[in-house]
Amino acid sequence: MSKKLVVNIIGWIFGLVWLVPFMGVFMTAIRPMDELLNGWWDFSSFHPSFNNFYQAWNHPTAPLSRGIPNSLIVATSATVLPLVIATMAGYYLARYRFPLKKLVYIVVVITLALPLQMVAIPLYEMLLKMNLLDSYIGLILLHTAWGTPWITFFMRNFFTTLPPQIEEAARIDGASDFKIFFKIAFPLSLPAIGSAAALQFTWVWSSFFLELITIYTPERFLATQRIPLMRGVYHVDWGVLSAAAIMVMMVPILVYLLLQKYYIRGMIGWSMK
């Protein structure tokens, strides 16, 4: 047996460990319940349909027809807002001298490591007082605040790689610092913004803990909050649950597939400076 063949066989054995469960979820989602009694791998009768997707979308207690639009609203807002704020802050850290810079860096890194449990109780009380509990505004604010540190750091790293000569030339021509930022630095940073946006969007979309403690009204539940509800306690309808799982994971997977280049670059830049 050639070496190449051995490598291929080992590679595919490993690969199947990941491929098979995804196939399983897909097969379970497109088949009626009575065909799953002997496992989704039993193809003695095979009648694929979108019925389970339809049922998950119009689920009586946790319809994704409400959850997915809700999540889209929150994830989009909580991506745009921190990107604007953090791009400005990152630019400032890269281009200006100011005394407490190191402290800002340290706060940023600590935030990356901080568990949400550390802020859960005070945030809950704070939102309660501000009348922002059970509202998307409160949730978007929290996601914006928690997205800002890492995006700031990410954008700072990008701007330090950007040669300042163009900006200096513009300044000699009399452009103000604000104008230089909006007309020159901001457009040049769009690729980096794309990377940060892809990551932030998927993170907010996938987020669950903040939603769990701040959103109570069932109609306002985000997509991720509906998955545990759909699971049920005693009886699990695997067909509907698989269909729901596919729909909820499809959004970040699509973002990844469409923006693969940006996504990977962002992930590497984010974790390796």
């Binding site: 990941w18 491929l19 859960a120 979309w205 996938s206 998955i227 990977i264 974790s271």
Partner: protein, 292 residues
């Protein structure tokens, strides 16, 4: 570097600082305070004593009998002890092998899907894989005539199934970073080693592993943080059960705060968890401290 005027600072920096101050720094400090006070507002260590002596945190009887639950502190420790080495090794193996496998990029995409999906869905995937009837794990075991069960529903296997499932979910992260790292190693290194008679295993351990060491530090740090913060998977797959057998610190904090409404105890768990994540983040903090 330009000199900063106050107006520049206010415009560029202030919105970020206000947000981080209000929703990150201030509440963290509040939680620390909360952990040191009782309901009447007296300074006390009572909350710490309560949490650390609780059987939720360290279950002495369980440890003595070698039965789950062992307590959240130990569960998190077991999680790290298994998950950290397994994801690093799996990620490295996959990155190296799939690079040379026909269709490797397609397989890599599926491995990566595991970490792209929301971890709430990840928890459902774990349930699905380990289920007695529909699960592939059991279908596989049945081939060898082994007994089948819903692995996540039994105290002695719940935690281990979650940990194995989380390896499945998170390997995409280490694999992707290692794949990117492999691209940066010049081919000449391997060619030179091959001329000197080094086989693939020697090349792997003498060239690949040492050169990927910086990436290993990053992967290990991020994985450690991920393990400590683990919440969604457990919440959806087992709720920390059965009987606390797969409970972890993050879930314990949530239960104390939002089910039992005992803020003092919850704050203590949060502080403990944060101390661990800060220790895990030391390489990160150090790398930033070195910057000019």
């Amino acid at each position: 570097m330009r000199r900063s005027k106050l107006s520049h600072f206010l415009f560029f920096m202030l919105p970020a600082l206000i947000l981080i101050g209000t929703f990150v720094v201030y509440p963290s400090l509040r939680t620390i305070l909360l952990s040191f006070f009782d309901e009447d507002g007296h300074l006390t260590l009572k909350n710490y004593v309560k949490v650390l002596s609780s059987r939720d945190t360290i279950n002495k009887e369980g440890i003595a009998r070698g039965e789950f639950p062992l307590g959240t502190l130990l569960h998190n420790a077991i999680w790290i002890a298994l998950h950290l080495p397994l994801t690093i090794i799996m990620g490295l193996i996959l990155a190296v092998i799939l690079r040379k496998t026909w269709g490797g990029n397609l397989l890599k995409t599926f491995v990566f899907f595991g970490m792209v999906m929301p971890m709430i869905v990840g928890g459902v995937m774990i349930n699905f894989m380990f289920d007695a009837n529909v699960g592939v794990v059991n279908a596989f075991l049945r081939l060898f005539g082994l007994q089948v069960k819903t692995w996540t529903a039994h105290p002695e296997t719940a935690l281990f199934s979650l940990i194995l499932g989380s390896v499945w979910l998170w390997t995409g992260f280490s694999m992707t970073l290692y794949s990117a790292g492999l691209e940066t190693i010049p081919k000449d290194f391997y060619e030179a080693a091959a001329i000197d008679g080094a086989g693939p295993f020697v090349q792997f351990f003498k060239i690949t592993v040492p050169l990927l060491k910086p990436i290993t530090v990053v992967v290990a740090t991020m994985t450690l943080l991920w393990d400590l913060k683990i919440f969604d998977i457990v919440y959806v797959a087992t709720q920390g059960g059965p009987g606390g057998a797969s409970n972890v610190l993050a879930i314990q904090m949530y239960n104390y705060a939002f089910i039992e409404f005992d803020y003092g105890k919850a704050a203590v768990v949060a502080v403990l968890l944060t101390v661990f994540t800060m220790i895990a983040a030391i390489p990160l903090i150090r790398s930033v401290g070195e910057e000019k």
